[in-house]
Amino acid sequence: MNNKVAVYRKEHFNAAHRLNNPLWDDATNQKVFGKCNNPHYHGHNYELIVKLTGEPNEATGYVYDLKLLSDLINENVIEKFDHKNLNEDTAEFKNVNPTAENIVIVIYTILRAKIDLKFNLQIRLYETERNFVEYPAN
């Protein structure tokens, strides 16, 4: 019998960024990325939802202790990105355009390395209330 349960933890961080492709000229960047290309940056309140799927542990009843999951996310993701400029202050986006798509892949990669592979991991990232991404896509 499949007793798998999905558990979720929400966290958030506030950051500045800009979308820019250094291989393109200013006009092309402006055309493709519009106001998101502002050289002085803009910013967002990012909402992060981390989903873990697994079977509840017989002894604890937990799939995963959500306090421990929160600590893990805070230490490895939030401290890295909160109140930062994603383009300027983070190694991850030195050479990667910090779109929501690329940010969610980076966050997944960081957390996947820290969480036992018996748990399925999926990340949802809200850039605004109405723009959000999910990885991996099923």
């Binding site: 958030h12 506030n14 950051a15 502002n38 400029n85 300027e88 605004t128």
Partner: protein
């Protein structure tokens, strides 16, 4: 008397930084908000008017028209901008939401039709941090 509110939003970068202080002093007072390379937010702006419904329309004021005025005179100046560097009406001011909401009021009030009474501006920086301003009382 009825209060009617239109919500608009903008995304912007800023930092809290007093140029008259050392970096250490700024970090002591403003913490991570003083990050010299900026950070950012999704700001939500609530614009509340007050008045009696017009007998012909039932409106205090047409909120579609209000939205156009707010967009033209406020949102277009702030959205996807750096509040410290790109916004003329915040030049030389500390970019706290307290100062920003006063700046928005001063920016918006002169552009509203004379029959409209601006009652309150509410500005959210995050879902859990917001300010309210009722003009100079």
């Amino acid at each position: 008397m009825v209060y009617i509110t239109r919500i608009e939003h903008f995304n912007a970068a800023h930092k809290l930084f007093n140029p008259n202080w050392s970096r250490e002093k700024n970090e002591e007072v403003f913490g991570k908000c003083a990050n010299e390379n900026w950070h950012g937010h999704n700001f939500e702006l609530y614009v509340t008017l007050k008045g009696e419904p017009n007998p012909d329309t039932g409106f205090v004021y047409d909120v579609k028209k209000l939205s156009i005025i707010v967009k033209e005179h406020v949102i277009d100046k702030l959205d996807h901008k750096n509040l410290n560097m790109d916004v003329d009406f915040m030049a030389g001011k500390l970019c706290s939401i307290e100062n920003l909401v006063i700046g928005i009021w001063q920016q918006l009030a002169p552009h509203l039709p004379q029959e409209v009474q601006l009652h309150c501006l509410k500005l959210y920086e995050t879902p859990r941090i917001f300010v309210e301003y009722y003009g100079e009382i």
